[in-house]
């Protein structure tokens, strides 16, 4: 089984979009997870709900909202275009943003669960040893929640690979720019005689997702072994 050049392009683009989307959401995702797990503030329930909204909204709706907010005819998109000559909608950037928004709740959820399982008394102990809040986070909370962060990253990465609805509305289906594996499969199915191409892409997706889950599982295992016991593991 070999992929033709267009299919290779779609696969590499998918991987790139997924990687960029994870990179985009990693810091805000971990920060949101920490804020939800470890602090109490006004409007927390609203933030929590807003983060999870992409999980329950139809992806097409998310794509449309992104288009309405960042498209060139929107206020912000128009300003970006006029000031910097930058367009977002219907570019690779749009595909990454769409994937990031859709994967964000998965990352936050898994990280937050893992952080909630970190014993707060260890954080107290760290404080009595002179660790500032930032150092407590960096050296205690995050390392102990790392299996959950890894799981979240992999889930979000896999979600990005599979993203379709929001991508096609916000980024379109432009070969070489926004045609990811998912949209390529869709295109192949729309093309007479495209079944073979669709199958090849389907197999590739299964393999990539399988590999991602395998890697996450072994990383999470290694992290738990380092802690000596199966604790603070997070959702894996």
């Amino acid at each position: 089984m070999t992929l033709d050049p267009a299919e290779w392009t779609a696969l590499l683009l998918s991987l790139r979009v997924a990687a960029v989307s994870v990179a985009l959401m990693l810091v805000p995702g971990v920060a949101c997870a920490w804020a939800l797990a470890r602090t109490r503030f006004r409007g927390q329930a609203i933030l929590d709900t807003a983060i999870h909204l992409p999980l329950v909204l139809p992806p097409v709706v998310v794509g449309y909202l992104l288009l309405a907010g960042l498209g060139r005819s929107s206020w912000f998109g128009g300003w970006l275009h006029a000031t910097f000559g930058v367009d977002i909608a219907f570019t690779t950037k749009a595909a990454a943003i769409a994937a990031a928004v859709m994967g964000f709740p998965l990352l936050v959820r898994s990280t937050r669960l893992a952080m909630e399982l970190v014993d707060e008394r260890l954080e107290d102990a760290a404080r009595t040893l002179g660790a500032s809040p930032w150092r407590v986070f960096r050296t205690i909370t995050l390392p102990l929640a790392i299996p959950g962060v890894v799981t979240g990253v992999v889930l979000a990465f896999a979600r990005s690979l599979g993203e379709f609805g929001a991508t096609i509305v916000f980024a379109g289906n432009i070969e070489g720019r926004t045609r990811t594996v998912s949209t390529a499969i869709y295109t192949a199915l729309q093309t007479p005689g495209g079944d073979a191409a669709a199958w090849r892409l389907v197999l590739v997706s299964v393999m990539v997702s399988f590999a991602a889950l395998l890697v996450s599982e072994s990383l999470a295992r290694a992290a738990r072994r380092r802690l000596g016991v199966a604790r603070a593991g997070g959702a894996s």
Partner: protein
């Protein structure tokens, strides 16, 4: 000098305490739910307080009247928790260094030697026994050069054998450093083995700290602690061993009289604490012949405290010792303050103060 004035409000529980103590090691004694851990957390700055004033050796760490509240990580208080709370993802060395990243190798070495940790430094917390974990936690706290050590039931997760192993390390810390210690426990025997002054915490309020040996004369403390084994606590220095079952010790260091005690496993010159229950001390008007009791200590009656259920008599034999007598015995012997008297203490009743 440690000065604490705290109020912590929680649903269904209020801690409201104020005390000051100059003791080298201050004990906080109380049952579960009395507020012991909350008190330590309040001193350490780990809980929100309704009122707080914490002062240690002249440094004010919190004063709500002046809106001063030094955050926990800047208070430099070494806390050792009941469960050790070692960081599971760091080695023992990583744990020890956590609070003192810039500490030189020499100070690490000092603590490692003091607590005999050298065989453990490259291990991980889950590979340690409970007692080893507590030693590492103690070392980790010590390395931060704390203003004070707050020990929150550091022995209570250990069995008796381990307690007896750890206690000498705590004593060593007490002797080798000048850091004031606050030791929280529900075990009076541990207290008697370690602290100089003790206060009792009950339902969120505390009594005044008192020298541990004077608690016997305080009727409330006596009634409260009688069943926990409140006893005379006498510091003594090992003089010599007499056979496999007896040891001669000098009470109060240099000036006190010599006594014979049940065998003490320590070499000559070692300072130990002996305990003897006041009910094990008998009084006679003159030395007795033909009796098995080997410690006959001549002294003077200093004080009489008639409690409801017994009279406590304090006798100065070079150091103060308290005897518990029935009211009838006191009357029949005609014991009064200033009287010369002989304290009779069986050597087997004099034992090293150790956790029970």
């Amino acid at each position: 000098m440690i000065r604490v004035d705290l109020r912590v409000e929680r649903p269904g529980f209020v801690l409201d305490v104020a005390f000051a103590s100059d003791a080298r090691a201050l004990g906080v004694f109380g049952g579960s739910g009395a507020g012991k851990s909350t008190l330590l957390a309040g001193i350490a700055g780990l809980v929100r307080t309704a009122r707080a004033r914490v002062e240690i050796d002249g440094t004010t760490l919190a004063d709500s009247a002046r809106s001063l509240d030094v955050p926990a990580h800047r208070r430099r208080l070494g806390v050792v928790f009941q469960d050790g709370r070692l960081f599971p993802h760091l080695s023992v060395r990583g744990n020890l260094r956590y609070g003192a990243p810039e500490a030189g190798d020499s100070s690490l070495q000092e603590v490692v030697e003091l607590l005999e940790l050298s065989a453990l430094v490259d291990r991980r917390p889950h590979e340690l026994s409970g007692g080893e974990r507590q030693r590492v936690a103690l070392g980790r706290a010590l390395l931060t050069r704390p203003r004070a050590l707050l020990l929150d039931e550091p022995l209570s997760s250990l069995d008796r054998r381990l307690k007896r192993q750890i206690l000498p390390y705590l004593r060593r810390v007490r002797e080798a450093t000048t850091v004031p210690i606050v030791f929280v426990s529900h075990d009076l025997a541990e207290m008697q083995a370690l602290v100089d002054e003790m206060l009792i915490i009950d339902a969120g309020t505390t009594s005044e700290p008192k020298p541990i040996s004077s608690l016997l004369l305080d009727e409330r403390a006596f009634e409260r602690l009688r069943d926990d084994g409140l006893a005379n606590v006498l510091s003594a220095v090992v003089v010599a061993h007499e056979g496999p079952d007896a040891t001669v010790l000098r009470l109060g260091g240099v000036q006190g009289p010599d006594v014979r005690a049940a065998r003490v496993d320590a070499s000559a010159g070692t300072e130990v604490r002996l305990r003897v229950a006041p009910s094990e001390v008998a009084l006679a008007l003159q030395p007795l012949q033909g009796i098995s009791i080997r410690n006959q200590l001549a002294g003077t009656v200093r004080r009489l405290e008639a409690h409801a259920r017994a009279t406590l008599v304090e006798i100065d034999v070079g150091v103060p010792i308290v005897a518990e007598l029935s009211h009838g015995s006191v009357r029949d012997l005609g014991i009064g303050v200033g009287q010369a008297i002989v304290c009779l203490v069986k050597s087997q009743a004099l034992r090293v103060a150790e956790p029970s």
